[in-house]
Symmetry: C2
Subunit: 169 residues, 2 copies
């Protein structure tokens, strides 16, 4: 439950009249708070760009991972994205139904299968990549010169806080 940024003031009745409804002072210096609203805004922006084409935002991550690790089984993918393997089943089914991925039974271990992008999958990934890049270009403009430094900080946050709560498990 993160307050959205820019919650325009409501010129309502009651206390709203006397006080200028804004981001509470207590939040003004909290990194976590701004981390949240920034992420939320970014996610919204990219969702908007993709949903128009009937693409789920999460697919980008998945297709990218598959593209860079052809033949990876769902279990490994789930570990990579830090989600339980059960959460991947329906998405894989969907991606398969849309012809974006192929699932090939593993000869050595009949329990699992390897996932690969089809030609359509590559095309879709390319499309998503363009959207993501365009979005990130906007972020670049906003972030400014020290993008590398900015990302380094974000990475550190993820790594140092993430150590306790593992990726999923």
């Amino acid at each position: 439950m993160a307050p959205s940024p820019l919650a325009q003031k409501a010129e309502r009745t009651s206390a709203a009249e006397s006080q200028d409804l804004q981001i509470p002072d207590s939040f003004r210096d909290l990194v976590g708070y701004y981390l949240r609203i920034a992420q939320e805004a970014s996610f919204q922006a990219i969702s908007k760009g993709t949903s128009a084409e009937d693409l789920k935002p999460g697919w980008y991550t998945l297709l990218t991972i598959i593209a860079e690790n052809p033949g990876l089984p769902p279990s490994d993918i789930s570990r990579l994205v830090g989600r339980d393997r059960s959460t991947l089943t329906s998405t894989m089914k969907l991606l398969n139904a849309r012809g974006l991925i192929s699932r090939r039974r593993n000869r050595a271990d009949q329990r699992s299968y390897g996932v690969r992008l089809t030609v359509e999958g590559e095309a879709m990934l390319e499309k998503l990549r363009r959207i993501a890049r365009a979005h990130d270009a906007r972020l670049d403009a906003i972030v400014g010169a020290d993008k590398a430094h900015f990302i380094a900080i974000l990475r550190r946050i993820a790594e140092e806080l993430g150590d306790e709560n593992g990726p999923s498990t």
Copy 2:
């Protein structure tokens, strides 16, 4: 669907052997990606600290807003947090049931009521504040010297991207 950071490599079969399963290269320079994993790590960390005491992380935001705008009606609160007002009903009921807030009918407008913290609510907010501050102290240590600059960037992201997709509505 954000990949968690630090997804430990899976030494599986198939492609996993040849490739070092890691964050895909394509993500390495995407601000949005790191924004996401950092936010996720931060949220997890604070969730962990609070859930132990049976406190929802989202309550902190709500209680803070109520504390800083005593007498505010739910409608205004929902606008502030950028969520639909219907999503607040159950939480308000819960907060009320736990004696953390009081709901007082508005004399002037019988449709609405003003929300205030009770003494217990203040105490709870204090507790949450301590947790949040401790968490943020860790973030401060990670972020380093230019915290102000870092937050400024996050704010800009929220504001400039947030302009298109309004807070809620």
